[in-house]
């Protein structure tokens, strides 16, 4: 199981793995926003938390279709399904590898991009906290979507349509907790909701995703 985690992470950072892709996308989107909105720093500072959350979410989406599609194409998904690993564990490890190579790096670079958007000082701490709590849910929900669309040609677009609505609760509570935290208000409730959603997806979705993979392999 750990071997699978390391293999997926190694594949993600090697050539064509898409590790830098999400990060570069995140950077470019954030840099584009001031061009679109204009250079008024107080407006930028006000929208920065929301912009960073949406950009992180879209950057996460970018590499989702690789989770299963590549393994399906070269036959290793069949071999993994017949290997002595529970498929639920395989799915959970793949989602974890996805988070470690997208969600976690995004969280770590987000404060630097907050600087570009003139984000208020108090928001930095909460930006990192909410992204850290929220991005695992993005990877696990995304893995479920990828499992549903594995084997479909050009499934990436359908995957986005399936997954984006499911991302909404995470976005709502994540951005809300961040906004309240930045304004110095109590944000325990949205923060707990965010953590709850993440724990719920980690606990439940690997089972659902494994069932979807089994059906798609038939």
């Amino acid at each position: 199981m750990i071997a699978l985690l390391f293999r997926d992470m190694r594949l993600a950072v090697r050539a064509g793995g898409g590790f830098g892709l999400g990060l570069a996308f995140f950077l470019i989107v954030t840099v584009l926003i001031p061009f679109g909105v204009g250079p008024q720093s107080e407006i930028l500072g006000r929208i920065a938390p929301g912009v960073l959350w949406v950009a992180a979410l879209l950057a996460c989406l970018l590499s989702l279709d690789r989770i299963f599609a590549l393994d399906y194409e070269d036959g290793s998904l069949d071999l993994l399904a017949t290997a002595p690993l529970p498929l639920e564990g395989v799915v959970a490890m793949k989602a974890l590898a996805h988070w470690l190579t997208t969600g976690l790096p995004l969280t770590l670079v987000a404060p630097g991009l907050g600087l570009l958007l003139n984000m208020p000082e108090d928001a930095y701490f909460w930006l990192v906290v909410t992204l850290l709590l929220g991005t695992p849910a993005l990877s696990y929900i995304g893995t479920f979507g990828a499992a549903l669309t594995v084997g479909l040609k050009r499934g990436g677009l359908l995957l986005s349509l399936l997954v984006l609505p499911l991302y909404m609760p995470t976005l709502i509570f994540g951005a809300e907790a961040l906004r309240r935290g930045a304004d110095g208000m109590a944000n325990t409730t949205p923060l707990f909701m965010l953590a709850g959603i993440t724990l719920f997806t980690i606990a439940l979705l690997p089972f659902v995703a494994a069932a979807a993979v089994r059906i798609n392999l038939r």
Partner: protein, 215 residues
């Protein structure tokens, strides 16, 4: 020497894409035996192997594959182009809880290629790496789908030797192949077990027969 085991299939029916293609198939295979599946394209060799590997459910019938015993080798080798030969093989070794890949590398003449990335291998070299994976699984039952595709005669001989050694050590091998592997093995022609065109699914057929047994 492994403990003796038996693979037994009784009255099996399987389908591909919802269409029944094999029915009434029975055979058994004991330790040390190799069985070659024959039959024209589309007869259901791949479907049978996938059913045995547990990748798809059987429509009817029973199969007793000893649990945790089968290693499946598909058309595709399941190699990662960005990983080296050693990394590819080590990954499967760790998945199957074995550590030693040197024997598998030696048996398939891959020792000079260990640090090459898989995308730079030729088709035959990739196939040899895919077959070496079987050795590191340590599983007694091999279910192989066209294992000799894109292998040259020398490599086919290497593969034949590996299968013989595997059977000699008490393993079982079930292969869909058209090529002569250089040893005598039992053959099973699947043509007589082709599902009749009018039997479109178990329940429809039971409507005709009336007294079908569903146990």
């Amino acid at each position: 020497m492994r403990r003796a085991m038996e693979l037994k299939v009784t009255d099996l029916a399987c389908a591909r894409g919802g269409v029944p293609i094999l029915e009434g198939l029975s055979f058994s295979l004991a330790s040390g035996e190799a069985l070659l599946l024959r039959g024209p394209n589309g007869i259901g060799k791949t479907t049978l192997l996938r059913t045995l590997a547990g990748l798809q459910p059987a429509l009817a019938g029973r199969m007793s594959v000893p649990a945790e015993s089968l290693a499946y080798g598909a058309h595709a080798d399941g190699l990662k182009a960005a990983l080296t030969v050693r990394e590819n093989l080590m990954f499967w070794a760790r998945v199957y809880g074995t550590r030693d890949i040197s024997q598998a590398l030696a048996d398939f003449n891959l020792e000079d290629l260990v640090d090459r990335q898989a995308h730079s291998l030729s088709a035959g070299q990739k196939r040899r790496l895919g077959l070496a994976r079987l050795l590191v699984t340590g599983r007694p039952v091999w279910a192989l789908d066209e294992p000799t595709v894109s292998l040259d005669t020398d490599s086919v001989a290497l593969f034949g030797k590996a299968v013989r050694a595997h059977c000699k050590a008490g393993g079982l091998a079930l292969m869909a192949t058209h090529i002569d592997l250089g040893f005598t093995a039992r053959e099973l022609d699947l043509t007589p077990f082709k599902a009749l065109p009018e039997s479109t699914g178990g329940y429809v057929r039971s409507g005709f027969d009336g007294d079908e047994d569903f146990t």
